[in-house]
């Protein structure tokens, strides 16, 4: 009876370059994730409309046509006309641009300021950290819209007000997220930093911390865009946001609600546009979170 030498059962190793396969796998999972795919489709539609729409529409968003006041949809005005005879569809697509630009500006502001502040607080700690946390607490103590309204009251209605107000409301969330991620990363990087002693903190932050923070930021940002669009629309609906003659969906809904009984197209079409956009961004955000959040993936 010969004995077979004991040998462990070997597991086959995964093959291929890690970077390339990881990205390809990500896109494959992205397509399969219903939320992300649907959300991306909706958002893409809105973006295309915003970019291309204003060029394609024959009527300008400001052009008033007295014959088209509260007109029903027609070949000339595909969605009809509003109280001043302006083409609803033209105003809708320009409104898309406005919403996206506002959202983009707010994102740009909050991501730069918030990330920088959060990383600094998380990395250096001490008084800087405490001060930042107190600042965030102050902002969190107020319900979102109320803070925005206070800013609007101080600065007066307008597009700039909306951007500033929403940025103020939203940046603490980014700062806190970045801070906690930086804190946990710092525990790991300390060893490296000590070894590479002499590397300036700024370099460490930019080269080591930032790339690890980006996925979480992407998730938070995509979920946040929906909120920002909604907030901007709300402020405009209340009249303290984007002002005439720039069209904004919130403002159009307000104008349209007055005449809802007889001329529903304005309110309904603007509402639909708003709904589609926000739902799209939220779905995209949810989908991205499923894909990028390591805690969710582990399950």
């Amino acid at each position: 009876m010969t004995a077979v030498p004991v040998r462990a059962v070997a597991e086959p190793a995964g093959g291929g370059a890690p970077g390339v396969t990881a990205r390809r796998e990500f896109w494959a999972r992205f397509r399969r994730n219903r939320n992300a795919a649907l959300g991306a489709a909706l958002v893409a539609a809105v973006v295309v409309a915003a970019v291309v729409g204003p060029w394609l529409s024959p009527a300008g968003y400001e052009d008033t046509d007295l014959r088209a006041v509260w007109a029903a949809p027609s070949p000339a005005h595909l969605l009809g006309g509003d109280a001043l005879g302006r083409d609803i569809l033209a105003r809708l697509v320009v409104g898309a641009r406005v919403s996206l630009l506002v959202a983009g500006s707010v994102l740009a502001l909050t991501l730069t300021v918030g990330t920088a502040a959060g990383m600094a607080a998380g990395y250096f700690g001490g008084g800087l950290d405490a001060a930042l946390m107190r600042l965030c607490d102050i902002v969190f103590a107020f319900p979102d819209l109320i803070l925005a309204i206070v800013v609007a009251a101080m600065l007066g209605p307008g597009t700039r007000t909306v951007i500033v107000a929403l940025a103020i409301v939203w940046w603490p969330g980014i700062a806190r997220l970045t801070r906690s991620l930086t804190l946990s990363l710092r525990a790991e990087l300390f060893v490296d930093a000590a070894i590479v002693s002499g590397t300036r903190p700024a370099t460490i932050l930019l080269r080591h911390v930032l790339p690890n923070v980006v996925p979480a930021l992407i998730v938070r940002a995509s979920i946040g865009v929906g909120f920002i669009v909604m907030a901007e629309a709300t402020l405009s609906f209340l009249g303290i946001g984007v002002q005439e003659p720039l069209p904004t969906w919130g403002g159009m809904i307000r104008d349209g609600l007055v005449a809802l009984r007889t001329e529903p197209y304005l309110a309904l079409s603007a509402s639909a546009a708003l709904a589609v956009t926000i739902v799209g961004f939220n779905l995209l955000g949810d989908g991205l979170r499923d894909l990028l959040d390591p805690r969710v993936r582990a399950r």
Binding site: M1, T2, A3, V4, V6, R7, A8, V9
Partner: protein
């Protein structure tokens, strides 16, 4: 011979994984008699916990029983409608889980969690059940039982929580208690106490115990019979004294060999080389052959059947 209390026959269970459905338990058969203490032994991944859960019908969405019967008091538990099964669970078969930390509801007092079994199965009223729960606490050796019954789980130590779990299991005087690694998560000093408690209670109430563990030391003191599982199959099954004194299956022998003994002056803890094959990737022939020091050519080609070598002692091996 009287019919056994629990008769598991040809139980096969599969699990839904990322790679599709894989079998995790394959035609497992064993018996537990009235008042007997039987040890079910194996490493993690052997399928022992899944077997136990399936007896109680607690497999969850991903598990599915593919074949076999689980005869308890003459009825096949696998084929009972859910309503009937619920009346068996907790009342005639009870289970003690491994993690006392998480197995108790943190928001309800400990005594209440025992009392509700009495309310549900034996129709006790709220106050009756609470009083009886305190008595049960006393039976399982919890000091100051009235106070402990009012306490919440987070206020109790691990050993105490496990005693509560045992009180919960014994409340309706079931015929069979299944202990799934009940002492693994506990301090070594507490382990012995809990095991002794189980043994005493079992003897006093005539309750059979199916003790699931990876620790042969536990089995040695508690069980009259041992069933050894490997990779979803039963590989040896016999009386404790025989099995531990003169083990037949190479896996059982290795299990015994790796139990560290204080007397031995070894620098390295011995271990069985290799690892249990994952459920979907079983080797051909005998499942243990890649790790078996006594494997022969035949082991690679054909899977051995489970056959009795002595009365009441079965082995699944070509060589033994």
């Amino acid at each position: 011979m009287t019919a056994p209390l629990l008769d598991v026959r040809g139980l096969s269970i599969s699990f839904e994984t990322a790679r599709g459905r894989v079998p995790v338990v394959d035609r497992v058969s064993f018996r537990v008699g009235e008042g007997e203490v039987v040890g079910l032994v194996g490493e993690s991944g052997s399928g022992k916990t899944v077997t136990a859960l399936s007896i109680m019908g607690l497999l969850g969405e991903q598990g599915r029983v593919e074949a076999g019967q689980v005869l308890f008091e003459g009825r096949d538990l696998l084929r009972l409608p859910e309503r009937e099964l619920r009346r068996v669970r907790g009342r005639r078969v009870a289970m003690v889980f491994q993690e006392p930390m998480t197995s108790l509801n943190p928001l309800l007092p400990a005594g209440f969690q025992v009392a509700e079994v009495l309310e549900e199965h034996l129709g006790f009223g709220r106050r009756e059940a609470a009083a009886r729960a305190v008595e049960l606490f006393r039976e399982v050796g919890i000091a100051a039982p009235e106070q402990r019954a009012r306490d919440y789980p987070h206020q109790l130590s691990g050993g105490l929580r496990q005693r509560v779990m045992i009180a919960m299991a014994m409340a309706c005087r079931p015929r069979l208690v299944i202990g799934d690694e009940p002492t693994t998560a506990l301090d070594v000093t507490i382990q012995a106490q809990i095991l002794a408690l189980l043994r005493e209670l079992g003897r006093a109430a005539g309750t059979a115990v199916l003790l699931i563990t990876h620790d042969l030391g536990v089995v040695a003191t508690m069980a009259s019979r041992v069933v050894v599982m490997y990779a979803g199959e039963v590989v040896e099954d016999g009386p404790t004294a025989e099995l531990l004194g003169a083990p037949r299956h190479p896996y059982t022998r290795l299990l015994l060999a790796v139990v560290p003994r204080v007397r031995d002056k070894q620098r390295r803890l011995p271990a069985i080389p290799g690892a249990i094959p994952p459920a979907g990737r079983l080797p051909g022939g005998c499942r243990f052959h890649p790790r078996c020091p006594q494997a022969i050519a035949r082991c690679r080609e054909a899977a051995p059947p489970l056959e009795p070598r002595e009365p009441a002692h079965r082995v699944r091996c070509w060589v033994a």
